[in-house]
Amino acid sequence: MRQGRLGASTPARGGGVTWSLGEVEALARKAARGGGLTWGMADEAAKAVLWLVSFGLPGPDALAGYLQDFDEVDRSSSLPTDPLSDTWRAASGQLCPIATGTVLSDLQRSDVSLTLHSLSWPLLFLPFAAWSTNTARLEWQGVTFQWFDASLCVSAENQALLSNHARLASLSPNTQDTGKHFKRAWRADLSEATLQDLTHFAARTYAPETDASKLSGAGAGLKDED
């Protein structure tokens, strides 16, 4: 059995396991931190994944792929070099979707005309774009997302949603809703592989147990069985 609370929670009987969104968010946060993001950035990654799964989108899969691609990579050169311009590139050549997304979200830019060169895991950038403007479209090869307030629709080719790299992504004003509309999802499915990957990254945030910490850490004290 795998380590970790999520991983260890295989149902004894009943089948059809789904995850609460809170569980997915908590796992994503720990995994992102374990994957090297600071706590504040890990919070952003977790909220992004939460937003994606609440539309039934494969945010956990994207996060797992992203963490693998960026493991041990210095993200400081994966930010837009000139965030006030309309064309974003990274010094490293690869824009990190989480770091780039937080820049967009932090800047609160009211315009929505932006071209991003070489954006990794573009699906993870989508929530930040949606938080930044209440209506816009985000496109990369094979995928067009459009949103207006809380309504989101997509037209996408298979596989392109989980593309690990968009040579060119663009954020532009919304025109009209086309494609499939999303419904609010209250539960999430996690593939075995994604669960394992995220659990693996999350485990890096856990301190190894020692006998001393087991006793003192949780606070042994007066007896508890009376």
């Binding site: 609460s20 504040g40 937080t102 606070g219």
Partner: protein, 560 residues
């Protein structure tokens, strides 16, 4: 009732100190009392649809609460637990009883599914149809005593009952999506679930009822000829226990908007009562009775822990002083509660001052109870960082909210002696010693004071926060907290959560007091036992107890 002149709220610098928060008591705004007010005013109906438990105490039961729109069912599993496996610690793997709150009325297939999972607790899975997961262990000394007394046709010894206060202790009540349960967001738009921890409180309330039925059942199984039931007045002396450890403490730091909502409601309630221009005769009588009952409560509260023994001594002396003062003070004078409040600030310890805060609310349901509606919030509403704020403006916030931390010497060991971390084994929050164990790499972001001081130190030029955070992502979490605290005065504990002398039980008590817990009994500096729903009416008594007057022990003459 006139409310002029309006008294200001107490300052966050005063309220948000751990020593004060660790002296909070239950009040009209507590979540248990909110729940019972609703169950009573909406005439909820209760039924025990299954009670299939054998003479050894093994089986299951289903208790359903029917509200105006929906029903909720406690599904209880009773086990035959060998004594050597009984432990309240989160590291336990088996319990006397295990529970889930089902959203609706379960069918046989649900019971089968839950039977395979709920007894496993953390190692099992529940689904979006369940709202909570919980377990409880017997208080062995009281359980055996009550079973044998009832079996022989006698009532239990009142003194022993009061000493322990409950027959079973819950050791966790998980909700909000834990282990597969429904997310809070999925049910928060229901009236009955909107307030904080309402499904958790309903779970515990139904557990208490089940436990009392179970003990009578066991006595009957032992001696069907002679066994009797508990007298109603005796029955109400039993609450349900709870053991709570460190796991609860980080919640207060990770939910700043919610913390602000709770404290704001309480402080607003206090300010409203202090602002009352003139108290009526009925209000004065109500207050005097509540104060006398609180004194009784203080004297009946047991703890073996040195810290709590000292606090209890403080509280008892405070209650004596308060009652003596009430003999002489003229409560018919203008703004009597403000005068009493000012008196307490100089004459009582923090324990007594905070008890007075709770007592002042007692006569003023119409003024106070509506504030319960302000105690839920959505953390997401204030979560996004405003990167257009200048770092100069942020410095101002840091000086205002975290001034106490900027003044500390963070090079010294004592202010940063502790580390909050999560252990590999049980995945529970722990507290370690930074300079004795290699834990710093695993530190959780639960030390806002130190982190604010670090951020402050690195704010070197005037620029938009967005630009600063691009260079300093390590400060992002605390920049967010600072912006939240700038908008919400009570969002941040204004004390050092990693200091060598910090007492986690202060954080636990603050949260548990909002639940409505009483009889805080720390078992170390980091876990605590409490009693919940002691003296509360049982489901069949709710209609006769519409006054929300149960939370303090009855005076002897009123007990019958």
């Amino acid at each position: 009732m006139s409310e002029t002149p309006r008294i200001d709220l107490r300052s966050p610098e005063m309220v948000m100190k751990l020593a004060r928060m660790g002296s909070f008591h239950q009040s009209r705004l507590s979540f248990m009392r909110q729940l019972l007010r609703r169950l009573s005013s909406e005439n909820w109906r209760f039924e025990t649809s299954v009670f299939d438990i054998d003479a050894r105490g093994v089986g299951h039961a289903v208790y359903t609460a029917h509200g105006p729109e929906r029903s909720y069912s406690l599904v209880a599993f009773a086990h035959d637990l060998p004594p050597e496996m009984r432990s309240d610690r989160v590291i336990a793997t088996a319990w006397d009883t295990t529970f889930t709150l089902f959203d609706g009325v379960p069918e046989q297939s649900d019971i089968h599914r839950l039977h395979a999972n709920v007894p496993l607790q953390e190692e099992g899975r529940i689904s979006g149809q369940e709202l909570t997961l919980s377990r409880a262990n017997r208080s062995v000394r009281l359980w055996d005593h009550v079973v044998s007394r009832l079996a022989s046709g006698q009532q239990p010894d009142a003194e022993l009952v009061d000493q322990v206060g409950y027959l079973m202790r819950t050791t966790a009540v998980y909700g909000s999506g834990k282990f597969g349960a429904a997310d809070r967001e999925a049910i928060a738009d229901r009236d009955e679930c909107h307030g904080p921890f309402q499904v958790e409180m309903l779970t515990v309330y139904l557990i208490r009822t089940f436990v009392m039925d179970l003990v009578e059942h066991m006595a009957r199984a032992l001696a069907p000829e002679t066994a009797v039931k508990l007298d109603p007045a005796m029955r109400r002396r039993f609450g349900i226990g709870n053991s709570t450890g460190l796991g609860m403490a980080p919640f207060l730091v990770t939910h700043p908007a919610l913390l602000n909502a709770w404290i704001s409601a309480r402080e607003e309630a206090l300010a409203r009562v202090r602002s009352v221009a003139q108290a009526s005769e009925a209000e004065i009588t109500h207050f005097r009775q509540a104060a006398a009952r609180a004194r009784l409560h203080a004297y009946g509260w047991h703890s073996e822990h040195p810290i709590q023994i000292e606090k209890l001594n403080d509280l008892r002396v405070d209650m004596d002083r308060l009652l003596a003062h009430l003999e002489t003070v003229d409560l018919t004078a203008p703004q009597p509660w403000e005068a009493l409040h000012l008196w307490a600030e100089t004459q009582l310890t923090v324990e007594g001052q905070e008890m007075l805060v709770s007592l002042l609310m007692e006569p003023y349901g119409p003024l106070v109870d509506e504030l319960a509606h302000c105690m839920a919030t959505d953390e997401a509403m204030c979560w996004r960082i405003d990167g257009t704020m200048t770092t100069t403006a942020l410095r101002g916030i840091l000086e205002d909210v975290y001034g106490w931390a900027l003044d500390l010497d963070w090079e010294a060991q004592a202010p940063q002696a502790r580390v909050w971390y999560v252990s590999e084994n049980k995945l529970e929050p722990r507290l370690g010693e930074r300079f004795e164990e290699p834990l710093s790499d695993y530190e959780q972001p639960l030390s806002p004071g130190r982190d604010a001081a670090r951020l402050y130190r690195d704010l070197d030029e005037d620029e938009p926060l967005a630009a600063f955070l691009m260079r300093h992502p390590e400060h992002r979490h605390i920049a967010r907290r600072a912006q939240i605290s700038a908008r919400m005065s009570y969002a941040e504990i204004r004390d050092n959560t990693i200091d060598a002398a910090m007492l986690p039980i202060d954080m636990l008590r603050m949260k548990l007091s909002f639940f409505g817990a009483s009889e805080f009994d720390p078992r170390s500096d980091r876990w605590v036992r409490i009693t919940m729903f002691q003296h509360a009416p049982f489901p069949d008594e709710l209609s006769a107890c519409a006054k929300d007057d149960w939370a303090l022990p009855p005076l002897p003459e009123a007990a019958e």
